[in-house]
């Protein structure tokens, strides 16, 4: 078992997920099994092997720095759960 319940709780907090007790127990078991399976990669000697982040690497894709039309404000705010004064409305983040 490569994970502990404390690990699962810490990961859930980092991922901003509220989990039930049953979910925590289930993920502890399942994530451990998946990570144990991934230990197979330790068989390989990876000395000097470069990592591949993309199938086809492209670098420094530039576009012309010109003003383009953007979505109308109404369209942008249409899907917001709460809005006010043409902005997304959320709870206060900083204490008074």
């Amino acid at each position: 078992m490569s994970l502990t319940l404390q690990d699962v709780e810490k990961i859930a907090h980092l991922a901003r997920l509220e989990l039930t007790r049953a979910e925590k127990a289930q993920y502890l078991e399942q994530l451990s099994a998946i990570l144990d399976y991934a230990d197979m990669l330790n068989e390989l000697d990876l000395e000097g092997i470069e990592p591949t982040a993309h199938a086809i690497a492209q670098q420094n894709i530039m576009r012309d720095d010109v003003v383009m039309p953007s979505l109308p404000l109404d369209d942008v705010l249409f899907n917001a759960p709460q809005q006010a004064q043409n902005q997304f409305l959320i709870q206060s983040v900083l204490d008074e």
Partner: protein, 485 residues
């Protein structure tokens, strides 16, 4: 349905035998009659479809023509169509209406295709059976007790059951090829970057690719041709020429070098699948291809590499679902609590992958898991580059088994992940791949032959599949479905 394939329907439109409005209405009627049982569509855009059909008929009356003009198609519910709900199969996007069209949808609209609706998917395309949808369970048209594969299972079932002439999906680890195999149709996963991902809900950005289904190779090719091309809004989109793929379907594969990788015929593969795929390879030889054994030595590492990289990318991509700009919001004591409660709307598989991805990217574990997976990805990619120095096409099974029963693997994530064992490597490398029907098992369930090509060599695998299809005719077999009155 009067016309078996997109190509037949297009020819009928050209001859003036039918209209787009008539084809579209027939498809909508068939969806009403069948989809209660099959559950392939999440949204049916009947009004939009009939408007588009009328517009296509007008364009044709004005002398226009085109391979997709007036053809009814389906779109996976992870690709944005302006003004139509886009759920990605998730409760966290319930009620979300995209304010713009995805690049591929823009292209389909320009080509005059008719959009019938949005099809079911595993939540955020994470799954191999479409059972992870938060909404409905899609059925396999060949056996309603079985899964259609996934994650693009809704699109696969729709095309297989003739409730669309072709359909778009996405393929991050096999999500179009595997359901194509399980539903007895053609599924193409083009090279990464061949088609813009703009307007497609992101799962794993280095692996995601818009992909397509058709009953025949030519049908699939028509949809591919219409959607391929450079888009400056997706910085991974490739600015390369797009060949005339339809013109490349000659059916002549004499001298084609076909490699058969030993690592894809392993223990655990269904015996009937192996027999059918080997027979298909023999047929390619009969058609003039040169068969040779090859090795892709790092094949067995593809599964763990994929299940470290894809969740890592997913955990970053899905951080945006915080209940601020779209989707529902479940209020908590403070903002962080609100975000946590809202994100509890993700389903079990998505949460599992976010957790896994967060862990392998976290301080202290990054090198051990994620960093190591990226290096092994290099070895897998190199395997393919080496193989493509010796052969033009790699032939192997698409899926180790035929369609499995609904619920059979739902509680065992690792066992479910094995469904993609033969498709993942294409996404990890710079290859393209397709699945073409190559027979049935003793239960009458379809089997798929996978053909893999080198970077941007879609024309090569499409022509090989076309030659095989024309020589065998599996595409003419359709599932027997009882239409309810």
């Amino acid at each position: 349905m009067d016309y078996l394939s997109l190509t037949e329907a297009r020819d009928a439109l050209r001859r003036g035998e039918t209209s787009s409005t008539a084809l579209t209405q027939a498809m909508l009627d068939r969806i009403v009659a069948l989809d209660n049982d099959l559950q392939s569509y999440l949204t049916i855009t009947d009004e939009l479809a009939l408007e588009q059909a009328a517009a296509a008929d007008q364009r044709r009356a004005n002398g226009e023509d085109g391979p997709l003009l007036g053809i009814p198609v389906a779109i996976k519910d992870i690709i944005s169509v302006q003004g139509v709900p886009n759920t990605a199969g998730s409760k966290i996007l319930e009620g979300f209406i995209p304010p713009y069209d995805a690049f591929v949808v823009q292209k389909l609209k320009e080509a005059g295709a008719v959009i019938l609706g949005k099809t079911n998917t595993d939540e955020f395309a994470m799954g191999s059976s479409t059972e992870n949808s938060a909404y409905v369970t899609t059925r396999n048209p060949w056996d309603l007790e079985r899964v259609p594969g996934g994650s693009s299972g809704g699109s696969a079932t729709a095309v297989s059951a003739q409730m669309a002439f072709a359909a778009l999906g996405t393929d991050t680890g096999g999500s179009v090829r595997q359901p194509a195999s399980l539903c007895g149709i053609v599924g193409l996963r083009p090279t990464y970057g061949r088609i813009s991902r703009w307007g497609v809900v992101a799962f794993a950005s280095s692996l995601d690719q818009v992909s397509m289904f058709g009953r025949t190779v030519a049908d699939c090719t028509a949809l591919f041709q219409a959607t391929a091309g450079y888009d400056p809004r997706d910085s991974t989109s490739l600015d390369v020429p797009v060949p005339d793929f339809a013109a490349g379907l000659t059916g002549d594969i004499r001298g084609l070098r076909v490699g058969v990788p030993a690592e894809y015929f392993i223990e655990g593969i269904d015996q009937e699948v192996e027999t059918a795929v080997r027979a298909a390879i023999a047929k390619l030889q009969e058609l003039g291809a040169k068969i040779r054994p090859i090795s892709l030595p790092h094949t067995r590492y593809a599964l763990p590499v994929y299940y470290l990289i894809a969740p890592a990318e997913a955990s970053a991509n899905l951080a945006r679902y915080d209940g601020v700009r779209y989707g529902p919001r479940l209020p908590g004591a403070d903002m962080i609590d609100t975000v946590k409660k809202t994100r509890a709307l993700f389903g079990p598989e998505v949460k599992r992958r976010i957790m896994l991805g967060t862990y392998v990217l976290s301080a202290g574990y990054y090198d051990e898991y994620y960093g190591r997976a990226l290096k092994v990805r290099t070895l897998i990619k190199q395997d393919f580059l080496n193989a493509f120095e010796q052969v033009d096409v790699i032939a192997c099974p698409t899926s180790p088994t035929t369609a499995f029963k609904i619920g059979e693997r739902a509680d065992d994530p690792l066992n479910m992940y094995l469904a993609d064992i033969f498709t993942l490597s294409v996404n990890l490398s710079a290859s393209c791949g397709l699945s073409v029907p190559c027979g049935f098992d003793s239960k009458g369930l379809p089997i798929g032959l996978q053909l893999i090509g080198n970077t941007l060599q879609e024309a090569t695998i499409l022509n090989a599949a076309y030659a095989y299809e024309q020589a065998t005719g599996w595409h003419r077999q359709v599932p027997t479905l009882t239409v309810q009155d």
